[in-house]
């Protein structure tokens, strides 16, 4: 039972950490960043590369976040900026970019057991008699702080308020002088940066493999849809739910069934409550 609770929290944090970047970009600027999975793996690989070149681990992580964040920024300005509003193109282009990155990395050969990231914190301890390693504790703390940071940022800083303004009503925000393109590219930047950070923390728990990229994308989309787009609380709650379900399934069945659970829950949510748990979508609205 204790095992369930502790690892439930851990797994929820992992899922949350994986989703925040995607959810942030999507709910603020409406851009579905389908290259998210690719950026995740890219973050991990960059950390590994910097490490190989002799940088200390913490610096490698920092550098990789910076590189991925700026990639996010540039992806917006090079590709997405021209096609804002063309739904189909946004989806295709971001997805194609993602695939290009993934397949490029696969071609370069990053697919064997040699490629794994070391944990930031080594060793483990015991929590109420359950063995927990420090890396996982770090993940839980990081996601906790990240959420609090995001909340403070979006409610109290100028940039954060600007992001929320655009999220609520883009046209009004534009008319008040907020540069929507800048805001969108910043949201992509932050989202990608967080993505690389989470990759560097989470990948040490396993190996770097290209399949993870697709998995992370699918999980992020699932959590965003179930939690409701536009809502941090929804993301939090959905991550908790999935985290505990995943832990329970790992203990009693086998973790391979988790993908099926994600699949079914998306369908379930769409049927019952399409806007998600705390979503702010209005289904039918007359727009004049």
């Amino acid at each position: 039972m204790l095992l369930l609770i502790i690892y439930g929290i851990i797994n929820s944090s992992i899922i949350l950490l994986q989703t925040i970047g995607f959810g942030l970009t999507f709910s603020i600027s409406g851009i579905p960043n389908l290259s998210y999975g690719a950026l995740y793996i890219l973050g991990g690989i960059l950390s590994w590369t910097f490490l190989k070149h002799g940088f200390p681990l913490w610096l490698s992580i920092l550098l990789s976040c910076a590189v991925v964040a700026s990639s996010g920024f540039f992806i917006y300005w090079i590709f997405l900026y021209r096609i804002r509003g063309a739904v189909l193109l946004e989806v295709i282009v971001s997805f194609a970019l993602g695939i290009a990155i993934i397949e490029f990395l696969r071609w370069k050969g990053f697919v064997t057991y040699e490629f794994s990231l070391p944990a930031l914190l080594k060793g483990s301890t015991e929590l109420f008699g359950i063995p927990v390693d420090f890396q996982r504790i770090l993940i839980v703390l990081s996601s906790f702080f990240l959420i609090i940071l995001l909340y403070l940022f979006s409610h109290y800083t100028k940039l954060g308020l600007a992001l929320r303004g655009v999220a609520q009503n883009e046209q009004t925000a534009l008319s008040v002088g907020i540069n929507s393109d800048l805001v969108s590219s910043v949201s992509m930047m932050i989202g990608s940066g967080i993505c690389a950070f989470s990759a560097s923390l989470i990948l040490p728990l396993g190996i770097i493999s290209m399949e993870t990229a697709y998995d992370v994308l699918l999980v992020s989309i699932c959590v965003s849809v179930v939690g409701g787009l536009g809502s941090i609380l929804g993301m939090l709650l959905a991550s908790l739910i999935f985290g505990f379900i995943k832990t329970a399934i790992s203990i009693y069945l086998s973790s391979k069934w988790m993908m099926l659970i994600y699949f079914i829950s998306i369908l379930f949510v769409l049927m019952i409550r399409p806007s998600g748990l705390f979503g702010k979508l209005k289904q039918i609205e007359e727009r004049i």
């Binding site: 194609a96 391979k256 979508l281």
Partner: protein
């Protein structure tokens, strides 16, 4: 000195406008040629096996199936549902066919029919709830569903997992080759007919202005469900048939190829003319087979190609050819 393009109907088209068209062989040929020649060509190809070679026969088979998927996609597009997940229909049909044929030992013909119907219903139930949301969510969800199924089958190893399932063959070579092309033509003409009726007007109206149609007393959701159902059934047929042709089904039936190629065909061919997507299929699929050497980077090439097509030939190739056929263009001084 400025110039503009002037487009006038060709003389022969003007002469064909009324009943006098029947007086001259040349005019009859003008009218009949574009309609009958492609159909004739498609029906002849399976007979020319010795000339064309087995490899290209297989490409022809693939083309017909992808053309069916393109028609299915275009039907969804014409009601305003942008789907990036034709692979879902294809894969569902293929796996249902495997279940009926391999696990339940049904004969081939029955299994294909049952798989089309079941696949259609199954996919409609999956997709319809998403159609109530704004367009972008529908697109993302349709993109993700096949990916999900791919991963689920790969990881949980149900339905044969990475090994796949085998199926019984069709048998007769002529049957094998003719069924996809005949069905493709049937679907093509059937749906064109549908879109020409009042139902077709309503379908296109839902795409343009859903609220207005709702305010006119029409149950938009019922129409959307019906269109999704038809589209899914056609797509599932294609999958079910292909599974029997190759006598094998694996997770690759859910791969992105089967979603992106129909999309490229539809956009190349020009929307609202179902013939265009079939034409697009016949242009693109042979090219895509040639591109197999690039591996999974193909999808990137498609996307680049897609963007190019959208920029350079927005009206689609079908309209372009139609325009060239019916009109003369001249530069005229202003």
């Amino acid at each position: 000195m400025e110039y503009r393009i002037e487009r006038i109907d060709r003389g022969i088209k003007a002469r064909c406008e009324d009943i006098y068209a029947l007086l001259s062989l040349k005019e009859i040929a003008y009218l009949v040629f574009p309609r009958f020649f492609p159909v004739f060509a498609i029906l002849i190809i399976p007979l020319l096996r010795s000339v064309i070679g087995e490899y290209w026969e297989k490409v022809f088979f693939l083309t017909c199936n992808l053309a069916i998927l393109s028609i299915s996609l275009e039907l969804l597009l014409s009601i305003g549902l942008i789907s990036l997940g034709q692979a879902l229909f294809f894969g569902a049909g293929a796996y249902f066919s495997a279940i009926f044929n391999n696990y339940m030992h049904l004969p081939v013909a029955l299994s294909i029919i049952a798989a089309s119907v079941c696949g259609g219903i199954f996919c409609s139930i999956l997709i319809f709830p998403a159609s109530r949301l704004r367009g972008i969510y529908f697109t993302i969800i349709t993109l993700c569903l096949p990916l999900f199924l791919f991963r689920i089958i790969e990881v949980t190893k149900i339905l044969g997992g990475t090994q796949g399932i085998s199926l019984s063959p069709i048998g007769n070579y002529y049957l094998e080759m003719y069924i996809p092309s005949v069905f493709m033509l049937t679907f093509l003409f059937g749906i064109r007919r549908l879109m020409g009726t009042d139902c077709g007007i309503i379908i296109r109206a839902i795409k343009d202005n859903e609220f207005s149609v709702m305010a006119s007393g029409i149950n938009v959701y019922a129409y959307k469900f019906a269109v999704i159902l038809i589209s899914a059934t056609i797509g599932s047929f294609s999958g079910a048939y292909t599974a029997h042709f190759y006598q094998f089904v694996g997770m690759s039936v859910f791969s992105l190829d089967y979603s992106i190629i129909p999309l490229t065909c539809v956009l190349l061919g020009g929307s609202s003319t179902f013939g265009g997507s079939v034409l697009g299929a016949f242009l693109i699929v042979p090219v895509s087979e040639a591109l197999r050497i690039f591996g999974t980077l193909r999808i990137v090439i498609y996307s680049a190609f897609l963007i190019l097509v959208l920029l350079l030939l927005p009206e689609g190739i079908f309209h372009y050819i139609q325009r060239k056929y019916h009109k003369i263009e001249r530069w005229k001084r202003i």
